[in-house]
Symmetry: C2
Subunit: 199 residues, 2 copies
């Protein structure tokens, strides 16, 4: 006999189709789900359905939000003149953890990637452009990932924004703090030399 | 702002409570679940509910089964005189992949572990003892894991079985095929010497 029972195999297949879940982990998860009580299962399923029902995109910055406008966009303590443009809500969390950035964000939900069939219309670029009609906004910081897609997205958006008279900047490239120069890749080193600062 | 929206955080917490899922993976999974269509979400939830509803334990060997008696126990081609006792349905799959073992199995669903509050009554030992009243059964192979718990479980069960006049054996310990002796641990090497065979 190969494999488990059909319905268990179906569940394992479903779990294995999730991102970063391999077949072994899917098996372990399936066995765990089989061992839960009915009320624990209900809790689990309700967490999924509840998040799907409640979580929408902030009407300003497109970040995930339970309300129409997210906590950051509705906060009076944030500097509304700067928008940090990121690919994913996870990137917002990364900046928030620094406790240094006090501006607002704009979440694109992806990056332009012809290889993966993601065109500019598929990510939240038009929502960003719409925000720029507000004269309060002085600067847009492109904080997309330092990848081919992130770079292309940053270039594409900056070309759209520049004619509007808003300053566009890009995160600095260089060696990460605490890293070992010996293991830095050549592209990063070249960018670090190009971006060197006078002491 | 720390963290995502409350309902998204609740979902991430639930996912992170699953075995072998860390917080980063839970975030990725949650984002994936948010991006599914409604019908894909239904498929996912139905796979869980369907498996929980359909999958029961085989009334003979306690392995997972969609039917009252599993495919292996109901097969006429399996040797019913030998029972291989394992801790988990995954172990059954491991033996089945060898394509060499043609006997039946018994799944304990765990191992005796006082540390984790698992007593002999919590695993399927009584179901195994009940099977041994069948005079057809000649041998029980203890194939629990080579861990403290697996070892203790094997010893406990063999003491119960021996008075019944059924042969009890244990999987051989030794160096794994294809392994490098240099990296074998001392316990395995001692067992390999003890179990040496004349050429």
């Amino acid at each position: 006999m190969n494999g488990f029972t059909p319905s268990l195999e179906a569940l394992i297949d479903k779990l294995a189709s999730l991102p970063s879940i391999g077949r072994k982990t899917a098996q372990r998860l399936a066995f765990h789900l089989m061992s839960l009580s009915d009320s624990e299962t209900d809790d689990f399923i309700n967490a999924i359905l509840n998040a799907r029902k409640k979580v929408k995109r902030c009407s300003v910055c497109c970040n995930f939000s339970d309300d129409d406008v997210c906590q950051i966009c509705s906060s009076k303590e944030r500097d509304k003149s700067v928008i940090c443009v990121v690919e994913s809500p996870r990137d917002v969390q990364a900046f928030e953890r620094t406790n240094e950035y006090s501006g607002t964000y704009h979440v694109l939900h992806g990056a332009i990637s012809p290889m993966n069939d993601v065109s500019p219309e598929d990510i939240c670029i038009k929502e960003l452009i719409a925000r720029l009609s507000d004269p309060e906004i002085k600067e847009v910081i492109m904080a997309t990932n330092p990848t081919v897609e992130g770079e292309a997205t940053a270039m594409y958006i900056s070309k759209l924004i520049k004619p509007l008279g808003v300053k566009v900047s890009r995160l600095a490239y260089g060696i990460p703090v605490g890293a070992d120069l010996e293991y830095a890749d050549e592209y990063t080193l070249v960018r670090a030399i190009e971006g060197r600062k006078t002491l």
